[in-house]
Amino acid sequence: MKAFQARYPNITIVSRDAFPCIVPETFQAKLAGGQMEDVFYVYYTDTQNIIRNRQAADITPYLGGVKRLKDINPPYLQAFKDAKGRVYGLPRKAYTTGLVYNRKLFARAGLDPDQPPKTWAQVREAAKKIAALGPGHVGYGEYSAGGNGGWHFTSELYGRGGDVVTPDGRKAAFNGPAGRAVLQNLKDMRWTDDSMGAKQLHRWEDLMRLMGGGRLGMMVGAPDVAVEAALNFGAKIEDIGAAPLPEAPASLLGGDGYMINPKAGPDRIKAALLWLDFRNLTPGQGQFDHRQLKSLGRPVGVPENILWGSGAGAAREDRELRRRYATVPVEHFAPYEDGSANVRPKTEPPNAQAVYAVLDGPMSAVLTRRDADIGRLLSEAEKKVNAVLARTGG
C-alpha cells in the first residue's frame, strides 16, 4: 500500500477489515445503510446477482486505465460482465475446479501419488483403496448441502461436457446423459463401493475439516483448498496435490474479485481501478508479491490463481516468481497447472444460488438414499430450475 501511495500521493486508501466480508449477510445491510465501501469484495457466484440488482458501478468507460486487462483470461472477466458486455468489476483470483488429493493416503493405499486419476473409473478405484485403509477414512468426499452440492454438480457436469442451462439461459439443460453420469458415479461410490463415508450433507467447511484431518483421499476443488486446509484446518500442505478434473474438456471457473459501489463518483472509480490494477493484477506486486508472502510465512508455490491467459507474459512472469520463492513442493501441483491449460473455464449458470439450492436435492438424494431414482430426481430438479428461471427471467 505504501508503494502504491508513493506512486499516487493524491489517492488515500482507507482499509476496512470487514472480515468475514465474504458472508453475504452484511452486503445488503451495508448498501441499505450507506456504509458500503467504495471497493468491495465478491465471490464469482454472486457477481451476476449483484449486476442484475444494479448494486455495482459500471466501470466500462474507465477500463482504459487498467494496464493488465488484456492479460486476463477472458472467461474470468466474463463473470463481471452483463449480457451487453458492460463490465462491473475486476477479478482478483481465478481457478477452474480440478481434483485435490492427499498424496500421503495415496502412498499408504499403494497408489502412485505422482499419477493422480485421469478418469472417473480411476477415481473410483483409488477411492475404494483409500476407504479400505480403515474406519474414518473417506476415499472421495462430496458436498450436498447449503448450495455447495449444486455448485459441485455443476462443476462435474461441465467436466462431462454437460450444461446446467440452455445457451439462452432460459431452460434447464442438465437432465441428460452427463447429468445422469455425475449422479450415477456418486451413487455407485457411496452405495456400491462404500468409499465416501457414512456422513453426508457436507458443506464447504466439512470437507475442509476432513482434508485437514488427513482422512480424506480426494475431492473436487482447486489448489486453494490445499492452502485453506493447511492454514485453517491443520493439514500438512506437502501431503496435498492437485490434478485437473478427470476426463474434463471444461470445468467450472471460480474465484473472487472486487466490484465498486454504484454511488462512487468517477474520480473514486478511477482511483479504485488504479489500486486494483496495482494490487491484484500486477506480477510481483500486491497479491503476486511472492517474496513478501514468503517472508510473512504464507505458503508460496501453490497455483492458487490462474487469472492470466496461458499465452500472456504475466502468466510466465508470475509462474517464474512463484517457483523462485516457493515454500511448498511445486511439483505436487504441476499436474493441475499444466493440465488446466487444456481445460476450458465455464461460467456459472444464471441465478446460480437459486439453481444450486435446487441441485442440492439430487446430490443429497443419491448420497443419502440407496434407492434414489436418478431419472426422477433429475426430472423433478429440471422442473424446479425451469420455474426458477421463468420467475427471474433467466
Partner: protein
Amino acid sequence: MTMLESTPRGGDRRAARGGRARGPGGGRHGRGGRSGRSRGARLGPAARRNISAYGFLSGALVCFAFFSWYPMIREFVLSFQRNNFVDAPVWVGLDNFRTVLQDPAFHAAWVNTVAFTLLALVFGYLVPFAIALVLNELRHARAYLRFVVYLPVMLPPAVSVLLFKWFYDPGPGLFNQVLRLAHLPALSWLDSTGTALLSLVIVTTWMNLGTGTLIYLAALQTVPGELYEAAELDGAGALRRVWHVTIPQTRLILLVMLLLQIIATMQVFIEPYLLTGGGPEDATISVVYLMYRYAFSYGNFGGGSALGLMLMLVLIVFSAAYLRLSRDNT
C-alpha cells in the same frame, strides 16, 4: 481523495454502531423551583409515581420502536417493493408474494415448519413437564438435578447444535455408538429424509429443556399440598393425581407455554441452517430458512419480506390467543 476498500483480511475492525437507546431513567423534573413543586403538588403522589414509571417505560418503548416495530413496518413495506438499496424502490404490488408462492421450496418449507412445530409439541412440551413432575417429587439432590437440567440452556445455541452434529454422525457419532452397543441398527439421523426433521426436534428439545422444566417446576410448587393429600385419601394413584390435581392447577401456565412454544418453534432457523442446510432433498427447509435464502443468498429482500409477512400473520393468531389468555387471567 479517500477511497474505502473492504478486504477479506487485515486492517482495523470497525466498531459496531448499534443505536443505543437511553431512557430518561425517571430523572428529576424541574430544578426544585416553585413551578416544579407546584405542578408536583397538583399531580399528587400517584401521578408523580406514574411519571417516573413512564420515564422508565420510555426507554423500553424506544428500544422496541427501533428494534421491533420499525423493522416490522419496514418488512411490511419491503414486501411490496423491489429494492436494491441503491436506486429508489419500485412498488411491485403482490409480485413478491407471487414469486415466493411459485417457489418449489415454498410448499416444503411450510409443511416442514408445521411438522416441526407439531413434533416439537410432542417432545418439547411434554418432556420438560414430565421431568418437572419427577423433580418435584424428589426429596434429595433436587438443586443439583435442576442445575443439570438447566445446563444446556447456558450453552450458546451454535455450540449445542454443533455438538449434536457429532452426536448424529452416522459413523463415529455418539448416538450410533450407543445403538451399536445395544445391538440395534444404526440410523442415518440427519442424512435421511425420514429422520432428519425429528433429529432437529430432538436438538431443539434438548436446548430448551431447562427453561421449560424450571417454569413448570415453579408452577408445580404453587399447587397446595393438601389437594394431593385429599386425592391420596380418596385412593388416587400417581397418574390420577397428575390428571385430576396437577394439570387443572397448572392449566394456565400450561396453556401459556403451549402458545409460546408454538410461536417460537414456528420460527425454527438455526437448527436447519447449521445442521442440514435444509436437506436432504428439502426435508428440513423451514419458512425462516427460506426467508434467509431469499434475503441473503438471492439478494431478494422483497421475497424474504413477503415470506416473513405470511409467517407473521400466522403467528399473530397465536399471539392474540396468548394475549387474550394473559388478560383473562390477570
